[in-house]
């Protein structure tokens, strides 16, 4: 099986900034993530975000594994981060 190498159907992880700002007071797109699939590290802004879907799906740019999923319902949001080992969130001193 191969995947489509044509026109990208994804956006970069900066597309997560607005939806995540509803949940967190810090800008998580600058947080460093480490993929549980391949171990690659990078900012959330570097994820490939598939937004033409029932929710937002952030995939590792290296191996394609799902790192983050965010669904916004009318009364709640669901956030799945099982694809990241941890997030390093920069904070002021």
């Amino acid at each position: 099986m191969t995947t489509d190498a044509g026109a990208p159907s994804y956006q970069d992880g900066n597309a997560l900034a607005g939806p995540l700002s509803e949940l967190f007071t810090v800008d998580l797109t600058t947080a460093l993530t480490r993929c549980t699939g391949c171990g690659a590290a990078g900012p959330l802004a570097g994820l490939r975000v598939y937004a033409h879907a029932p929710g937002l799906v952030g995939r590792c740019p290296g191996c394609g594994q799902v790192v983050l999923r965010l669904v916004r319902g009318p009364r709640a949001a669901w956030l799945d981060l099982r694809g990241t080992v941890a997030l390093r969130i920069p904070l002021g001193s």
Binding site: M1, D4, S9, G55, A77, W78
Partner: protein
């Protein structure tokens, strides 16, 4: 004189079709995807059904095409609120594929090339309600719409109709799939507007 009117509380009607609550009609066929589009060669394609005892039933592309196919026209309802009326398909009924399978399970976990999963009761795959569809509007199903073959369960929201379908695992308990595990409804009946958990 009697005036018959659907009234402003009536179910919206468009081009003679019924529209579920909260939906609008589109004439396009939007492409929704949670990841890159898998390209599966027909010679490599296989579809499997695995039972709760570990028995595995397998069909190649040639096996699928050798089975009796049905042509059917159905309306599609996506949870992102678009509906598309009168889509024409060709495929093999799950009644044919599951007819040879011995299982006491009540639930199905559907998996797809690319890693997508979705769950539904086994009963919703039977009795002429579901197909492995491989042709759309008289042509081979394009990859962006799930080709070579996709599941089609049109009485439920379209996220249940897994594109690039690869297999079905029959399970005793309902196990949430890709969207069901992040807030979407376990069943997904568009007529009861079962979009999210708790609806």
């Amino acid at each position: 004189m009697t005036v018959i009117s659907p009234g402003f509380r009536g179910r919206p009607r468009t081009s003679g079709h019924r529209l579920p609550p909260g939906q609008y009609e589109t004439r396009d066929f939007p492409v929704l995807s949670a990841g890159p589009t898998p390209r599966v060669a027909r010679e490599d394609w296989e579809f499997t059904v695995t039972t709760e005892t570990g028995d595995r039933y397998r069909w190649t592309w040639g096996d699928l095409l050798s089975l009796p196919a049905e042509r059917f026209t159905v309306d599609l309802h996506c949870v992102t609120r678009w509906s598309k009326f009168g889509t024409s398909w060709e495929g093999v009924s799950l009644d044919v594929l599951l007819g040879t399978v011995q299982s006491a399970s009540d639930y199905a976990l559907v998996s797809a090339y690319g890693g997508y999963t979705t769950n539904l009761p086994l009963a919703d795959l039977l009795n002429g309600q579901a197909w492995i569809a491989h042709r759309y509007e008289g042509a081979d199903l394009p990859a962006e719409h799930g080709g070579p073959a996709r599941l089609l369960v049109p009485h439920l929201y379209l996220w249940k109709s897994a594109k690039w379908v690869r297999g079905i695992e029959l399970t005793a308990r309902s196990e949430p799939g890709f969207w069901e595990s992040v807030g979407y409804h376990d069943y997904g009946d568009p007529w009861r507007e079962q979009r999210y958990q708790g609806d």
